[in-house]
């Protein structure tokens, strides 16, 4: 579904991502871990087509990630959920439904709103929502696209415990539906509970690319201990 091939990203003199490569198959949930500034968000933004790659190619379902075809295939849930100040919750969903050509969007969005307690906020404007509410709306917008690949960039920040639980459940449901998920988060327990595979990034490089089972079998420790061990400065 997703192929990242020898991708690098340089911001002026800073090499944010160094020659990384990985592939994701259909129905896979992959977590990206790494300390601050490791290049996780840059990688996700490059996949979403918001940033150019300095070198390398990214393809989604065999098409270049910036093509309209590829864009129809993925949904991006950003790190900072800035929504339109003057669009209501419902209108955000309407816009997404139009942009991604989603049929019967009103029926599809209700279950998401129920799970994220947004049903009574449907007429609220974007600027009237709290940060947590915006994050919930952002996730709902992403889910409504009915995409095949979901790119979650720190989706749990600002969410209440119930919403975090719902997000994890939804990820598992999406996996069951055969959807592919790439998630960047600092919440290691979320990765541990939901992901099949882990990519650990440090200073722009992937230093670990392993399935969750292999990782635990080799290290015999919690993901937190493994993460701290592999990212520790030498």
């Amino acid at each position: 579904m997703l192929k990242v091939e020898k991708v690098s990203k340089k911001f002026k003199k800073v090499q944010a991502v160094k020659n990384i490569s990985f592939e994701m198959g259909t129905g896979e949930i992959v977590g990206i871990l790494g300390p601050n500034g490791a290049g996780k968000s840059t990688t996700i933004k490059m996949i979403a087509g918001l940033l150019r790659t300095t070198e390398g190619d990214i393809t989604i379902d065999g098409h270049m990630n910036k093509s309209i075809y590829a864009k129809k295939k993925f949904a991006y849930i950003p790190e900072f959920p800035e929504m339109y100040d003057l669009l209501s919750v419902d209108e955000h969903m309407r816009f997404i439904a139009q942009a991604y050509n989603v049929d019967s969007w009103e029926e599809k969005m209700v279950p998401y709103f129920e799970r994220f307690d947004l049903l009574d906020k449907r007429d609220k404007l974007g600027k009237e929502l709290s940060k947590g509410m915006k994050q919930k709306l952002s996730i709902c917008c992403g889910l409504l696209t009915q995409a095949d690949l979901y790119l979650f960039d720190e989706p749990m920040i600002g969410l209440d415990p119930k919403a975090i639980r719902e997000t994890k459940k939804i990820m598992k449901e999406l996996k069951e539906e055969g959807k592919t998920i790439l998630i960047s988060t600092h919440l290691l327990d979320s990765i541990e509970q939901t992901c099949d595979r882990v990519l650990v990034m440090k200073a722009g490089e992937i230093i670990v690319d392993s399935s969750m089972d292999d990782l635990k079998a080799h290290h015999d420790a919690s993901l937190e201990d493994i993460f701290l061990e592999v990212t520790e400065d030498e």
Binding site: K12, A48, G49, L50, L51, R52, K66, I68, Y69, K71, K72, F74, A75, Y76, P78, F80, P81, E82, M83, Y84, D85, L86, L87, S88, E91, H92, R94, F95, I96, Q98, A99, Y100, N101, L125, G126, S138, C141
Partner: protein, 527 residues
């Protein structure tokens, strides 16, 4: 549904919701109605005041308008071209950019929606200027239309142009060269202006009029964009000539060319506009919380030591002193002091036959500038921070501790103005002794009254309605002081006593505001 249709529907929803949201907030509506009434009053006053002026008397105004317009467009275009000024909202970045839509269509709709925005902005701005121009100069409807079109075209061109330059430089990986090229171009125009001023000095002598004539020189009209734009904007003042049509044709063709170039370049621009969009989002968020960037000149001294002998509210004074010591000449001497001295020197050399009154003019200008910016002082910045309310001390002491340095610096600057004036002009009056005290008390009153506006409206509205607030402040707070100043002045014909009387009134008003600080704090804390 086509991409254009989806994007236009989005804009329609945003447009309708803007008005719905405005109507839902009656307090805002009242202030906006007041603002419109204020604008109408300005327009009517302008038309009335200048109605009987003869053209001959207005000759100098023509020059000042021309020079002022050129300087404004010069600075504005430079600041817009320095970086990609085509910014999107972060909501666009999050929702629109990843969506399966053609990036070129997103760009075209963005440019399209700028047209009514700039038409409205230019109409809004020109209402003030044109009412005055119509009354001062014999102008025509055609000339006014040309002025409006010129003003709008200038804005419409600059945004996509800055995007094109930025986009080309990032695609060719010559970003450093781009910024140098823009600087060199503007330095070249700057040198040209200096040359023209120099020529005026040689022919007409060393005067303000020569500077104005140099900046308003016809040779500058041939510079694309700013020269053409200025010529078009000046149509209402100078009339419509053949060159007006040439400038209009030049600007229109340039706009079409830049739009086409933008379309060609906008196949891959998300990264180029993202950093600016993030920066803008931060600025908007800061402005909503009342945090605005200071335009002051700053040093960056790293190692600064300050004696720590303060407690409670005194900590605010200590913090302010430390920051000033780090960023300015010293705690008490600033760039402002230098500017004050330059104003006095400027009056001495450029304004003839005004030695007697130049001190009052210079002090007046300084105070007026401070008055205009009195809602963006340290006190207003501190009031936005939670720790200000948490410091265990009385509100009065906290407010006084915050403004103490500002008042001292103002007083020192006033003394500098007086001293330089006395030395340069060899002229002294008894009123000069009380002038710094009177001005400082006047300034203290404006400071203590300015932050009150924050109580009534959210910061975003305070910024939008700044002009209205200044008008209300002038009427409510500054008027008593003016009345006393004028009354005593007329009765005694002595500036010293007039200033002394006004100082007493200002001191009383300042004390009243300080005494009310307890109640105001409660309101501010709630907000």
């Amino acid at each position: 549904m086509s991409d254009y249709s989806i994007l236009l529907r989005l804009e329609k929803m945003l447009f309708i919701n803007y008005f719905k949201n405005l109507i839902r907030n009656p307090k805002r509506m009242i202030f906006y109605v007041l603002y419109i009434a204020f604008m109408a009053w300005v327009v009517v006053t302008n038309l009335g005041n200048f109605g009987n002026s003869s053209m001959a008397e207005m000759t100098n105004f023509r020059g000042y308008f021309s020079a002022g317009a050129f300087i404004m467009f010069f600075i504005m275009s430079f600041s817009m071209l320095k970086q990609s000024s085509l910014v999107f909202k972060m909501s666009d970045v999050n929702l629109l950019f990843p969506a399966p839509m053609d990036s070129r269509k997103i760009m075209m709709i963005t440019l399209l929606k700028k047209i009514p925005t700039y038409l409205l902005t230019s109409a809004f701005t020109l209402i003030f200027i044109l009412s005055m121009i119509v009354s001062m100069f014999e102008t025509t409807t055609l000339a006014i239309v040309m002025t409006g079109i010129g003003y709008t075209l200038l804005f419409l061109i600059l945004e996509p142009l800055s995007f094109c330059i930025f986009s080309i430089s990032t695609k060719l990986n010559i970003e450093d060269f781009r910024s140098k090229l823009i600087k060199w171009t503007y330095m070249l125009i700057g040198l040209l202006i200096l040359g023209l001023i120099g020529m005026e000095f040689m022919t007409d002598g060393f005067s303000v009029q020569s500077i104005v004539s140099g900046i308003g020189s016809k040779w500058l009209h041939y510079i694309p964009i700013i020269g053409w734009g200025k010529y078009l904007v000046m149509s209402a003042v100078d009339g419509v000539t053949t060159y007006t049509y040439l400038a209009l044709a030049g600007m229109s063709l340039l706009y079409i060319f830049i739009v086409l170039l933008t379309f060609y370049l906008s196949n891959d621009y998300y990264e180029d506009v993202m950093s600016m969009s993030e920066e803008r989002a931060k600025l908007v968020s800061d402005a909503k919380q009342g945090r605005t960037k200071s335009l002051n000149f700053h040093f960056k001294k790293k190692k600064v030591t300050m004696e720590d002998n303060t407690k409670y509210a005194g900590a605010l004074d200590w913090k302010r002193q430390l920051l000033l010591k780090r960023s300015d000449f010293s705690v008490y001497l600033s760039m402002e002091t230098l500017l004050c001295i330059l104003i006095v020197i400027g009056f001495k050399f450029f304004v003839e036959d005004a030695a007697e009154y130049s001190l009052y003019f210079a002090s007046g200008i300084y105070l007026y500038i401070k008055f205009l910016f009195s809602a963006q002082t340290q006190l207003d910045h501190e009031l936005k921070k939670p720790f200000f309310y948490l410091i265990p001390d009385s509100p009065m002491r906290k407010i006084f501790a915050t403004v103490k340095i500002d008042l001292r610096r103002f007083f020192i600057n006033m003394i500098a103005i007086v001293l330089v004036h006395v030395v340069l002009n060899q002229h002294f009056e008894s009123a000069y002794i009380i002038l710094p005290i009177a001005m400082t008390l006047f300034y203290s009153m404006t400071l203590f009254s300015s932050y009150m506006f924050n109580i009534f409206l959210p910061p975003e509205d305070v910024a939008r309605l700044a002009v209205l607030f200044k008008m209300l402040q002038t009427i409510v707070v500054l008027l008593p002081s003016f009345i006393v100043l004028m009354t005593i002045g007329i009765l005694t014909e002595n500036i010293f006593w007039a200033l002394a009387g006004s100082s007493i009134v200002n001191a009383i008003i300042s004390v009243v505001f300080l005494a009310l600080s307890e109640i105001m704090f409660e309101r501010l804390e709630l907000k």
